[in-house]
């Protein structure tokens, strides 16, 4: 038998997938993201756009844009039903550099056999958080001719991962040798029908195992307040960390396009008008995002914000700084910055 020596460098704890952070008491994962949430800090997460490329440095370059401003990075899984580098691969590259990625799993492309295998694989690669999604329909993407899977839905998916983690077994009942230690997340969209039942839907998601929630874009604070009031009444804010989505809109035109083409996006007319009337719509869009983040933070029961700035990722740091939601806290960033890679390309 070959004796493989696993290097263990205490100074670098957390940067090696095989050598993760110690799991704290009462925590379900080894992840830094869970530590931030459970410590009661206001968390900031964002989304990385996976490249249309097999180049790992491109992933690190894109992640480095967020250094020092976010607590976790969602790696999207074929979002909008478009092909990109897989979420699992992006996460694996990110954990190697010490980042806290959130694996996104959509039910559109894989059945329960594949998803459970990937869950084990992700955990082995140091991924500590997973977001369960149903996924956009294939018709929305660049391969509308593909066969949609939808073997599970987002709720039975969360339940499946919870069974793997807490009961240490597959859905079939077959035992696992080592359970995947992952914090389970789900999404919610309080801004589209059935509005009256969205809090009930949230309750179902929490019942199915969700410990953190990331919402769809919020551009409508009064609507969010109504939703959060219902969530509080049902005691849901005590049971899960609710993170609200905030978006950066570059122009009135994009906003109008998103409203009619991206499923589930609700943008009030006043906001579109505000962008229309602005002389610097890009700057205005960032201001709007920062304002929304501030307002969201004031709402009782909100645990953080999720900044989505598609094609405007380089502004995420700015928006977070402007909003001041982090206070004087600086989220973890790798010592060795990959910003130099950014400078070359």
């Amino acid at each position: 038998m070959i004796d493989i020596e696993v290097p263990r460098n205490p100074a670098k704890v957390g940067t090696n997938p095989g050598d993760p952070l110690p799991r704290l008491e009462g925590h379900v994962s080894h992840g830094r993201f869970e530590q931030v949430l459970r410590a009661g800090q206001f968390a900031v997460t964002t989304e990385i756009a996976p490249p249309d490329s097999a180049d790992p440095t491109e992933v690190l370059r894109r992640a480095s844009l967020f250094d020092g401003y976010v607590d976790a990075i969602n790696a999207t899984d074929g979002s909008g039903a478009h092909c990109h580098m897989s979420s699992l691969a992006v996460c694996a590259i990110l954990t190697r550099a010490g980042y806290s990625p959130i694996l996104q799993v959509s039910c559109r492309d894989r059945n329960r056999i594949s998803i459970q295998g990937d869950t084990l694989g992700a955990a082995a690669l140091g991924v500590c958080s997973v977001l369960c999604l149903s996924g956009d329909d294939v018709g929305a993407g660049d391969h509308p001719e593909a066969k949609p899977v939808f073997d599970l839905d987002s709720i039975s998916l969360a339940q499946t991962i919870k069974i793997m983690r807490d009961d240490s077994q597959f859905l079939s009942g077959r035992k696992l040798d080592l359970a995947p230690r992952m914090m389970i997340g789900s999404s919610i969209n309080p801004f589209v029908p059935p509005i009256a039942n969205r809090a009930d839907q949230l309750a179902k998601k929490i019942d199915s195992g969700a410990e953190f929630i990331q919402s769809q874009y919020c551009f409508d604070i009064p609507m969010l307040k109504d939703f959060m009031a219902k969530a509080r009444d049902l005691g849901l804010t005590e049971k899960a960390y609710i993170i609200i989505g905030a978006g950066v809109l570059p122009s009135a035109k994009t906003a109008t396009w998103m409203r009619s083409n991206v499923p589930g996006v609700h943008i009030p007319d006043e906001l579109v008008r505000r962008l229309e009337q602005s002389e610097k719509p890009k700057l205005e869009g960032r201001k709007i995002c920062a304002e929304i983040m501030q307002q969201v933070k004031e709402i009782d029961g909100v645990a953080g914000v999720h900044v989505m700035a598609y094609r405007q990722e380089k502004w995420v740091g700015d928006v977070v700084k402007c909003s001041g939601v982090l206070g004087d806290r600086k989220p973890w960033a790798p010592e060795q910055s990959f910003a130099n890679i950014a400078a070359i390309t």
Binding site: L152, S156, Q201
Partner: protein
């Protein structure tokens, strides 16, 4: 046509719930007897009957794990993503489906129908990942044979 009947059924979910609770035990009881005498010999006509009736009323897709009484009488298998714990986050502002804009979201319908039902709260229960091998089977027969529990609310 069947789409309109389906909407009608959800609109009158309370009535159909009552009908279900009064008729279902009789159907299952009869089938239990039939099963004892005939075994599997009559499976095909019985399945066809269920499919015809529920197909006409609810656009039933014969998933073999009927959840109608828990989903406001709106069959979740008509959701293009076959979500059994819905809706998804893509519902349009006017309540129409993300994937099929000409169809009302099956799950907006479901929550709406459930709100009118006596045991509508059953919609809050989580549906476990479905067994796809049951596709095409008769739920009635499966209940009669004790393969699945009768989906009558425990909130009675």
């Amino acid at each position: 046509m069947s789409y309109r009947v389906r909407l009608f059924a959800v609109k009158h979910s309370r009535f159909f719930e009552r009908l279900y609770h009064s008729v279902n035990p009789a159907i299952v009881g009869t089938l239990r007897g039939v099963n004892k005498v005939f075994g599997k010999k009559l499976d095909r006509p019985i399945t066809a009957m269920e499919s015809g009736l529920k197909g006409f009323l609810f656009d039933c897709k014969m998933c073999g794990n009927c959840a109608l009484s828990k989903t406001g009488m709106s069959c979740p298998m008509n959701c293009p993503k076959t979500i059994r714990n819905g809706p998804c986050g893509g519902v349009r502002a006017d309540g129409m489906c993300e994937v099929k804009p000409e169809m009302k979201c099956v799950w907006v319908q479901a929550w709406d129908g459930a709100a009118r039902m006596k045991f509508g709260d059953d919609i809050k229960d989580i549906e476990f990942a479905i067994d796809h091998r049951d596709q095409g089977k008769s739920t009635w027969l499966r209940i009669a044979r004790g393969e699945i529990a009768e989906k009558v609310s425990d909130r009675h």
